[in-house]
């Protein structure tokens, strides 16, 4: 962040943005739209965290194959987030447990947080955007 701050020279205020993803992929357009907004935000050099709770954890499943339902498979895009300096990916432990999922089931490396730490992370954000 330090070299970025120098380049900004007062032009940009860096805020803490959390993108909160709570929907399964494909059944609604929220997951895909959320991902696209995150990629746009990355262009503005903000401090971005992506959080996956509730059915949102399903967005990160390995082995997704959308050929049969003829929609775009955007799950590989989560692996590209690192290239946009979006490296803070958090997953809610209880949501994983309620769906029988473990970190090994997910397509990207994430930090799994217990609910109290997730709550604190949310509370310290400047902006929370929910999908």
């Amino acid at each position: 962040m330090s070299d970025m701050d120098e380049m900004d020279e007062g032009s940009g205020i860096v805020k803490k943005f959390m993108f909160l993803n709570r929907k399964a992929p494909h059944g609604t357009v929220y997951a895909l739209e959320g991902l696209e907004v995150v990629l746009i935000t990355a262009a503005f050099d903000q401090d971005v965290s992506m959080v996956f709770t509730d059915d949102g954890v399903y967005q990160l499943m390995k082995g997704i194959d959308t050929k049969g339902i003829e929609v775009k498979d955007f799950s590989k895009t989560y692996r590209a987030l690192e290239g946009y300096d979006i490296e803070k990916l958090y997953v809610d432990q209880a949501s994983m447990d309620a769906r029988g999922l473990t970190e090994d089931d997910l397509i990207v490396d994430v930090t799994v947080l217990p609910v109290d730490e997730m709550a604190n992370l949310m509370a310290e954000q400047d902006v929370v955007i929910s999908f």
């Binding site: 059915d55 399903y58 390995k62 769906r99």
Partner: protein, 99 residues
Amino acid sequence: MLHIVNKSATERSSLESCLRMATKGSAVLLIEDAVCAATSGNAAAAKIQAAAADLKIYALGPDLAARGMAGRVLDGVNVVDYGGFVDLVAEHSNCQSWL
């Protein structure tokens, strides 16, 4: 009767409402986000397995695959493709979609 559920059981109450109303011998087809309920470890799995004693439970295969769930389907749940979906609709005299 064929009951069709398309909402995730961990987000909406559609599946629960469906299972409450479905009479013995009826068929329940899970499609779209609802297919996740028929996978091992899901919070709704026990409900699905209990319901399978009196109901025929189906899940749409292409929707399972699109959610990375093809290998996690519960025992007692029948996976069908789109042709099977059409057959189920044709076989039953009436159907209810729990939107």
